[in-house]
């Protein structure tokens, strides 16, 4: 029965750890992508240099804006040529089809839509692009993953708590004669409770330790293969910081054991 309790905690913490790890990777990865987002504001042909300069100054003074870069149409074409080199023969272009543009980077990804909307309203701006679809979907995905994950983990922690609590209750039941005598000769409830609380705490910690070990083994053997299969995740996975995750997981295990045993012994002592 104790093995069941420890096992359940282990499974729960493995899931929790895997989820937190995956989330950290996703957030890291997402942040990487999102941080690279820039707003391209294309200007109408014939916008006066004074007007252009006024816009640049306004954007540069906006506290949300990280950097503003003016890209005249000539430079834009050169850039395009460089990027498409070898893929499309750009020499067929007889005139420059590109407008003048601003490249704007903002401080956080969440600010992108708002800033973009304001730029669009500026006179002289013809069109604004920041990969609306990609950004929106990415933000949505992160939010959904977070919510589903939290629900699943809550459920598992609850199940682990119930199983530990039942295990402790069985131990309490097996020792009820001893407990009755302890109460009779004047032991305080705290004194009687102590060993059971310790047992619950230990079960939780042991389960969490096993889980941390399993996670480490899993990460060491799975992640390199994953990186090999999906080259684009490599840098992000390696960079995720796991320093705080291990103590957090151990803490969750210990807390589940402590609370569950506290409740189950408490119920017994009241009767």
């Amino acid at each position: 029965m104790q093995a069941t309790a420890i096992g359940t905690v282990t499974v729960t913490i493995v899931l929790l750890g895997a989820f937190l790890y995956a989330r950290a990777v996703l957030v890291h990865f997402g942040a990487g992508v999102l941080n690279q987002i820039e707003i391209s504001a294309f200007l109408q042909d014939g916008t006066s240099p004074a007007r252009t300069e006024a816009m640049r100054a306004a954007l540069a003074h906006d506290p949300r804006v990280l950097s503003v870069q003016y890209v005249p149409k000539k430079e834009g074409l050169q850039e395009l040529r460089r990027r498409l080199k070898g893929e499309i023969d750009t020499s067929i272009l007889t005139e420059n089809p590109l407008p003048n543009m601003f490249r704007v980077r903002v401080r956080t990804p969440e600010l992108v839509p708002a800033v973009a909307a304001e730029i669009r309203k500026m006179p002289g701006v013809q069109y604004v692009n920041y990969g609306q679809d990609v950004v929106g979907k990415l933000l949505q995905l992160v939010a959904v993953a977070r919510r589903v994950g939290i629900a699943v983990i809550t459920l598992f922690i609850l199940v682990a708590g119930i199983i530990i609590s039942n295990t402790i209750r069985l131990t309490v039941f097996a020792r009820r004669r001893e407990i009755a005598i302890m109460q009779l000769v004047g032991a305080t409830n705290a004194y009687i409770r102590m060993p059971f609380i310790c047992e619950g705490l230990l079960d939780g910690l042991l389960g969490a330790s096993l889980a941390v070990a399993a996670l480490e083994v899993g990460r060491a053997s799975l992640v390199p293969r994953l990186v090999a299969a999906l080259p684009f995740v490599a840098a992000n996975v390696v960079n995720v910081n796991l320093g705080t995750l291990v103590p957090q997981l151990l803490l969750v295990g210990a807390a589940v054991g402590l609370i569950a045993s506290w409740i189950s012994v408490g119920r017994f002592l009241r009767t």
Binding site: E178, I181, M182, Q183, L184, V185, G186, A187, Y191, I192
Partner: protein
Amino acid sequence: MISLRGVSLVYPNGVRALDGIDLEIGKGDFVFLVGHSGTGKSTLLRLLYREMAPTTGEITVDGIRVECLRRSRVPILRRHIGVVFQDFKLLTDKTVWENVAFALQVTGAHTRDVIRQVPRVLDLVGLSHKSRMYPGELSGGEQQRAAIARALVNNPKILLCDEPTGNLDPSNTTEIMELLLRINLKGTTIMVATHNQAVVDRMRRRVVRLDNGRIVTDEERGYYFLGLGQSQILSG
């Protein structure tokens, strides 16, 4: 030492276990509690060590108002009271020594005190030579003496005995009663709920008779059956 005023206990199903009990027991008294089965003797004892709480009435034990005692204070009360049962309630996987020491240890006593107190009470009940044995290896009388030693190790001022000789043969019964008498002579207040007519009639102590949850008689030097004693004296 023990005082009950207007104590009643009514179960949720309406049954009156105790009804208007008034009882005063002085320091160093030895009192028998007699009456039919189910008449409330054990219940009365349980109220004293706060295993149960009365529906109405006041209970004072060694200056502690028992009925309004907070749950966290109950252990303090119980350290003033030793309790002995018919079925001994010893832990079978512990030796006699360990059973007695257990009662001290769970109250957070110092090892020093345990080493001093346990031999003292084992000597008092005459079990020093069997302190390393397990309850299963002892006779009923010896087990009860171990239980009494455990009840006394905290130096309680009061010893409550619920049918202490119920499982014992006459010779063991005599031994246990003599032991209780010795303990009483050292100043411990003792209450014994019993069915054992021979014990009560031989010892001639205060007898409180319960019937249907009420005290019907309270005699200073009583017999088990009301009136029988007198007739025996007359015929003898």
